[in-house]
Structures are given as structure tokens and as C-alpha cells.
């Protein structure tokens, strides 16, 4: 049984009514902001695909696989990469951040696509490896652009640029392992047409 928001913001609650209203308003505004950046239709389509996958997995003759853990391991590796890439989209970013941010945004997008595609069993081996290739390309381009920044554009010490270069290098360093995991995931199942883990 859940309480309605109106009940919660009533003056009987254990804080000031204005604080409750302020919080409730910010929460609703926040929800609206999230709604604007989410692709609800794409999410529903992915859910429908998962639903249909479950129905087909229940058909007679369907072979259960024990490879959930292998996909989870690859997704876990992608999660780590996603956690490494943090960029504050703030107006007071330094020049190095501003320069590299578009590349990191695209890298995040590819990693999200990879994770979503793997977990929803919607990628072929070639598509998964292509996404890893896109990540590598985005990072390499970001690093190259960083190196090309004129010295005058970077504040004294260049700490910001050095941190970004280190961040990019750390992700690039992990990509071969991710590539290998994806290769093994498909090859060991002997099927490269889709992620080999029916539910």
C-alpha cells in the first residue's frame, strides 16, 4: 500500500509543509527532466524483444544454456569502463574537458549500446566487436585532440589535461581484455549470429 504524494506533503508530516512541497516539486521536475532525455519507446521495444525472447525460449526443443555468467562478466567489464568515464557537463569546465567531452560522450554511448545489446541478447559478434572498435576510435581521437591543444589553451601545470590523458589511457588499456571476452563469449558457443545466452 503506497501513500499518495498529497498525503505525504500534508502538514501532519514530520517536517515543514514548505520543505515537503519543495522536495515533492523538485522530485516531480526531476522526473520530468529524466523523461525528456529517456527514449521510452526504444526502452519498450527492448522490453518487448526480451518478452518475445522468453516466449521463444519456452518453445519445445529449446536448449537451455548455462552461459548467463559469461555475459554477466562481459557486462560487468563494461560497467567498470562506464564508471571510469566521468565528465561533468558543467559550464565551468576547463578547455581540456570541453575538448574531450564530446568524444567521451560518444564512447559512453557506444558502451551503453554494447551493454544493452549484450544483456538483451540483441547483438551479433561482429556488431559487438564493432562497438568496441568505436569505443577505441573515440578514445584515440579524444587523446589525439588533447595532444593538439595549443599550449596556451591549457592552464599552467596542465593537470586537467594530464588527468584526462590518464583516464583515456586506462580505458584503452582495458579494451583488449574486453575484446577477448567478447570473442570467447561467441566462439565458445559456436554461434556468432546473436549473443549465445537464451534465458
Amino acid at each position: 500500500m503506497t501513500r499518495s504524494l498529497r498525503d505525504w506533503i500534508s502538514p501532519r508530516s514530520d517536517g515543514g509543509a514548505e520543505l515537503d512541497a519543495l522536495l515533492a516539486g523538485a522530485w516531480e521536475d526531476g522526473t520530468a527532466a529524466v523523461t525528456r532525455v529517456l527514449d521510452i519507446e526504444a526502452g519498450k521495444a527492448a522490453l518487448l524483444a526480451a518478452f518475445q525472447g522468453r516466449r521463444s525460449a519456452r518453445q519445445p526443443g529449446h536448449q537451455e544454456s548455462a552461459e548467463d555468467g559469461a555475459v554477466a562478466a562481459v557486462c560487468g567489464e563494461v560497467d567498470i569502463l562506464l564508471a571510469i568515464i566521468t565528465v561533468e557537463d558543467q559550464p565551468n569546465m576547463g578547455p581540456a574537458h570541453s575538448t574531450v567531452m564530446p568524444y567521451l560522450l560518444s564512447v559512453r554511448k557506444f558502451l551503453i549500446q554494447l551493454r544493452a545489446g549484450l544483456s538483451r541478447r540483441g547483438l551479433t559478434k561482429a556488431e559487438a566487436l564493432q562497438l568496441v572498435g568505436n569505443v577505441r576510435h573515440g578514445l584515440s581521437e579524444g587523446a589525439r585532440t588533447l595532444r593538439l591543444l595549443p599550449p596556451g589553451a591549457i592552464p599552467a601545470g596542465g593537470q586537467e589535461a594530464a588527468q584526462l590523458a590518464e583516464l583515456i589511457a586506462s580505458i584503452l588499456h582495458r579494451l583488449p581484455a574486453l575484446n577477448d571476452r567478447i570473442e570467447r563469449l561467441f566462439d565458445e558457443a559456436g554461434d556468432t549470429s546473436r549473443v549465445p545466452v537464451p534465458q
Binding site: 501513500r3 515543514g16 523538485a26 526531476g30 525528456r36 522468453r54 560497467d79 564508471a83 557537463d89 559512453r108
Partner: protein, 182 residues
């Protein structure tokens, strides 16, 4: 028998039932209504960025598919599963990542979409100690004290206490006096 996560149980184990097209329509309606709220909830509770929170929320919906017919309270189940999944991912990240690479601030892809007041209020909320923040977040989503207590493994009194401290802290951080005026 009803488990405290809202799943009807049968014979001591969770009963998985076949989901049908009518179920999917109902899930799709719930998805449209709850997905943005669930993403904001996950992000606020766990500190995950919106992309990762969206993935967690989507995963929770996918996990609901085979259980749908047995869910007594699908919303409570989804939020609880998403909360646990987010915490598990955060712990895995902390376990496997070098400490100096763990971000201090979550990535905010949509920060430009937020008004100053929203940002201030939600930043104050995110700045609370974890238990207080989580109790407030569940409360904002309209869950009862009993549901919050069950989800967080706390007593109802502890829920009330955390909310009282959280509100006092928020009043202070937001510059509100006891009666609520700024």
C-alpha cells in the same frame, strides 16, 4: 503465502509464471509511467549516473517479465529489485576498480535540463548520509514506512528517525526555518 518483496510464493520457492500478451500490455503501461521515476530513484539512491541507472531500471523490468503474474505489488517489486541491483553494481565497481578511478561525482548527462532550484534541492538530497538519503527517496516515491522498512532492512522506527534527521538536515541546507520559510 506472500513474500515481503510482493511476490506470491508457492511451496517455499518463487513461482515463475508464463507471461502473456495481456501481461505485456500492462507492463508497458507501467513502464511508461514508472521508468523515468525509477531512473531518478536509482540514480539518487545509488549515485549511479542516469545512463547506468537507466540500464538498472531496464534490467528490473526485464526481470519482472517471467514473474509478472505473481507480483502482488509490481511497483514495489521493481523499485526493490532495481535498488538491490544498483547497490550490487556499485559494490562490484568499488571492488574491481582502483580507488583513485572511482568517480566522486556521478556523471550528469542532462544537467542542462535542470533548473537551478531543482539542482539545489536534489543536490542537497544527494548530499545526505546514505540511509537518510534512501529513506527520503523512497518517501518521495510515495512508499509507506512499512514498505521502506522492508526494502531497506530497517525497523519502521528507524525509517521515521532517518526521515526526521534528513528533513532537519535538508531544512538547514536549504536555508528553511522550522516553519518552512526561507
Amino acid at each position: 503465502m506472500v513474500a515481503d518483496d510482493g511476490v506470491r510464493m508457492s511451496g517455499g520457492s518463487e513461482k515463475l509464471e508464463v507471461v502473456n500478451l495481456a501481461d505485456f500490455d500492462a507492463i508497458a503501461v507501467l513502464y511508461e509511467r514508472e521508468m523515468p521515476r525509477l531512473v531518478l530513484f536509482v540514480s539518487t539512491v545509488s549515485g549511479l549516473d542516469f545512463h547506468a541507472a537507466g540500464d538498472v531500471a531496464q534490467t528490473a523490468f526485464e526481470r519482472a517479465l517471467p514473474r509478472w503474474a505473481g507480483l502482488r505489488n509490481p511497483k514495489a517489486w521493481l523499485y526493490r529489485v532495481a535498488r538491490n541491483e544498483a547497490i550490487a553494481r556499485c559494490e562490484a565497481i568499488r571492488r574491481e576498480m582502483p580507488a583513485d578511478l572511482i568517480p566522486e561525482q556521478p556523471y550528469q548527462i542532462s544537467v542542462a535540463e535542470w533548473r537551478d532550484e531543482q539542482r539545489e534541492v536534489l543536490a542537497c538530497l544527494k548530499g545526505l548520509p546514505p540511509k537518510q538519503r534512501e529513506v527520503m527517496t523512497w518517501t518521495l516515491e510515495g512508499f509507506s514506512d512499512a514498505e521502506i522498512a522492508a526494502a531497506m532492512g530497517l525497523s519502521a522506527d528507524a525509517v521515521k528517525s532517518n526521515r526526521r534527521y534528513a528533513k532537519a538536515s535538508l531544512r538547514k541546507r536549504l536555508g528553511l526555518n522550522r516553519r518552512g520559510a526561507r
